[in-house]
């Protein structure tokens, strides 16, 4: 089988580097082009990058960085994007209009009802939108989005509880690692030994994006599920790992069997697991019985960062509470994009 050829926008950034690493030795995806900001074009990858992921894969080291212009991505099957949000809109759209399939981590178009927002285990079915996207939009290519890192992580354990959570109120606090703000997002002096109880835009994005991922396709559009949530997002001084404390307010009559919920979460599987896709975790949701878990320093190492760990599941005072943790750079960004491409290939969209 010929490998799928992909190019990568934003390849020298933190998420870009993760993708480069995860694609090295991939069984059926081959990274053939790396792109970066104008000042780096033409340079060797090795020279242009401040690499932080161990050793640069041999085959990427000497690649010359290309531009984001369509002509530089002619001979690839898919363009992956790890672009910063503020640059993504124009660049990605130009590529899509020029006929490329773009799978992107960046925020623009995430809430567009005709653009699938994919967290593969949750809503691979939404790729169906691609069948009508071109005709509706007049695009020559295709655009697929991945959710915000926190939404990507929190949505996983909410999926098996869809019926419940779309009918109840949710109170959520997220504790988010500094890498979520980008490599240079926060200075050491501002966040070390500190907590900042605010992350711009985050509290609104999470319920919206989760609602879209849990929604239904209708007439070539997504009909979002209604998520009635109040979220508080807090920056904490760790490098990697977003944690969420999710409280679901039960109605008086609700009969919740906590053990049953744990089983449902622990046994949750979806297409990526069934098709045994290379980047798919064997268990997307890991349920912890140890009260002191999940912890970033222990649990992010499991399943190469592609699983989400859940703990402290209990009902008290008519509130179902759980603590969720995931790797914001892998499950929340680089890994979800690659897994999306794997699913698209599996289903014949590429």
């Amino acid at each position: 089988m010929d490998k799928l050829k992909v190019s990568l926008l934003g390849s020298t950034g933190m998420v870009g580097q993760k993708m480069v690493k995860m694609l090295s030795n991939h069984p059926f995806i081959e990274l053939t082009k790396v792109s970066a900001s104008p000042a780096k074009i033409g340079k060797k990858y090795e020279e242009a990058v401040k690499w932080i992921e161990g050793e640069i894969p041999e085959d990427v080291k000497d690649m010359r960085l290309v531009s984001t212009e369509p002509e530089d991505h002619k001979d690839v099957d898919v363009v992956l994007s790890a672009l910063p949000n503020e640059l993504a809109e124009d660049i990605e759209l130009k590529l899509v209009r020029a006929g490329k399939i773009v799978v992107s981590n960046a925020s623009p178009y995430r809430m567009d009802p005709e653009v699938p927002l994919i967290n593969p285990e949750i809503n691979w079915q939404h790729l169906e939108l691609l069948k009508t996207q071109q005709s509706k939009r007049g695009w020559k290519g295709l655009l697929v989005k991945n959710p915000n890192c926190t939404a990507a992580i929190m949505s996983l354990p909410l999926k098996p509880l869809t019926e419940l959570i779309t009918q109840r109120k949710i109170i959520m606090t997220t504790l988010q690692a500094v890498s979520g703000a980008g490599y240079n997002g926060l200075s050491f002096m501002s966040i070390y030994n500190n907590i900042i109880p605010y992350i711009k835009g985050e509290e609104e994005k999470i319920p919206k994006e989760v609602g879209k991922m849990l929604g239904q396709v209708q007439d070539g559009q997504i009909l979002n599920a209604k998520i009635n949530a109040r979220v508080t997002s807090i920056r904490v001084p760790i490098k990697v790992g977003h944690m969420g404390v999710i409280n679901i307010l039960l109605d008086e009559g609700d009969k919740i069997d906590v053990e049953e919920i744990k089983r449902e979460l622990a046994n949750f599987k979806s297409l990526p697991q069934e098709k045994n896709l290379p980047t798919a975790p064997k268990k997307p949701i890991i349920v912890n019985e140890d009260e002191s878990r999940p912890q970033p320093e222990i649990d992010l190492k499991i399943e190469n960062g592609m699983a989400v760990s859940v703990g402290r599941i209990s009902v008290e005072n008519n509130v179902l509470r759980m603590v969720v943790l995931g790797d914001n750079l892998v499950r929340g960004a680089a890994g979800i994009t690659i897994l999306t491409v794997e699913v698209m290939k599996e289903l014949g969209y590429i």
Copy 2:
């Protein structure tokens, strides 16, 4: 005026050191005895302590450590206790039975309905219990308790909202600094770059102790207020500062004027402010309009750690949310004990 003479149990610990420092140059309290664990008795304070608070006050340096036995505390008016919870019960009771007035930070007896649990600005009136405590208990002395550090901090901004919060459900997440577990409570390897979503006993203590502090005196006992709360307590890798995200679930008909609430909190004053007591903050509750506040590295320095900072107050989706921050070693421990003694002196209980 003669100064009040006090002795201090647990004087070499982290909270003990804070008290030693705060009592140095106190206008009417004089620390005349310092006590520590048996192995240190007879040593000079300076030699027995691993001092972490700058310079040891000159007059304490050469004090010889005494035991916790009543005979070693004969000539003091009040015994302050910064003992570890597990040692406090027997030692404090023995002193109370021997006729001492003990004001203590340790957990035993906190929920005893005949023992006042004092956060001065909130419930100095509960000291009234002391009028009947001796006759009811047959003690020769008196026992006064201070709340758990998180309860001490969170209860302050809840006080002006007593009517509301005792009738609504509260969902709370606390992010607690490592010092809350004691100086040697957590190893660097276990909590650096990490989050531990569990603190033993904490989630139960907070609503219980807040409920007692907001309660009423009736027949020489406290009738606790009912707090309907679901709390999740999380350890975060900072040294000092406990933060709470407090969500109050409103009823459909509730009409909440957020600006009015901010004013009530910002203007909150109580006996310690009116009497201008030396350890009292001028403003016990500081309201922040800056969305990124309160932050431990900025806000704990205000009012010498005796005020509580509140921010992100808003109503959305029928939830009143606020973020609360306080210094767990000062407002949550050393300072609250000293302020309690000041109030007792002011009201004639000592």
Copy 3:
């Protein structure tokens, strides 16, 4: 006595804030003007600053920020500068040419033989250069510099050893806190849980500036002392505090009495101590016998950050070794500038 009126350039930065705080309630210096970058001119200090030092002094809160132009500093006696190095040269020179006395922390002109580089306890005598500076330079005002933060700290315990260290080789490793790079100098992701074994320019500056401070005035110029040193400067993940491991290579015949050296360091006093200047530490050099000291979290709190702590002094294998620690923001920056002004006032240079 009328207070000395000073203005402050760079008043909203990290070092500027320290100066604002240290000048609040100063017995004879009054901060009457605060200056900042063009975009902030005209704004209230309180609104323009991201204040991190507790409470903003009441009298500064409402001051309107002025420019760095001479006409905005007409009615002050001295201009203090906490400007970034790259902006300082032109701005400061313009003020000096316009007749102002400028005392500055910034690097330009530090090594100019006609400009005194003052660490008050070490070389207040160098202020003598001011007597001829105007005639030599044709300036209407005066320019006084303070050393780089690390040089400021390390030079203190080297002063009493001048004779020895100017004749022997020194091998030094410095471990420098992140604040030394400025508030936004290093991102959390780049230095947390990390060490960076390089600080641009630092390894050259330290011996040069120490050599100038230990030099002699001759014909209105400084004749630098020769410092034969090899320095390695390393960035470590702490907020405040620069540490130096100083190894002085002894000659075979050197007879060093370590106890004598400790006494000399511990007893070191200079003009600021003799004149009891308000910002002067009582003991500029604190000698620790405890092998595990000095430590930033313990020792920087002593003497309000104006003393330098020294420990681990010993001779072994014919090497005299000591570990030195100081507060890079106070002794190394804000405090040294204020103390310099105090000395200048005392000696009649202002």
Copy 4:
């Protein structure tokens, strides 16, 4: 080929866990027994361990922990020891006397001239001592030691410079990670945002152990090389990674070609590389040209932690300086032990 069967003492500790992980899927070593402290004997490994290394290898999970007594290690070929130093002496000696081959990380016997202290690339030839160890000691088994973590790391780049460094004075500062003190060695409160300029015993061990490793075998004993060094060891607040600043004081006449030294270090290879042993790094010494390297967060990921990174190599002021960094848990502990066993197997000592 039958796999070598090994047991592991101290298997639930931090270094023990690293060994368990590194031995999982080893091509010719099979971990068949895990041992731990008495209270854990009989328990399943999975239940007894606080695992921090991702997923526990499947084949170890259910192993029942055994004692350290010889009868529990009968059917293994080699006993690996990750015991704490204070417990190791008696336990290991008992096993050796009972006929076991023990390869140990613990400190007792490290400086014994008849016990090889092996850092494989440096002195695998010292295993020759094993030929006479039994007869000289009357032991039925064999004892092989690995060096202290810092000595293990620093000795690698010193090896190619043996001739020079054994004739010159060395001034060294080490910056050592908290894991070097063990998982519970330092509390968060004591070392976070702090530096402790002292590590008990370390400053003496490093030159002694390096001297032994660079020594020669003579009559069944090691004749140590003379290392004339002055070391200062400092604890810094990072989790993993020991860094050393090594200054070699040159004589006036020394002609050092820095580029030649870089080449020698970069090209250094030894038996483990030649025999392509599974745990051997391809390049034991990595030379960095980037001035800001080596850094723990970047460079420890290379070669799975088995290489040592060197940077900032230069001669100035007649001092040859280099900065060395290695993974204290892998190259400094778990990995060196496993590589030692691989070499012993290769050379027929097992």
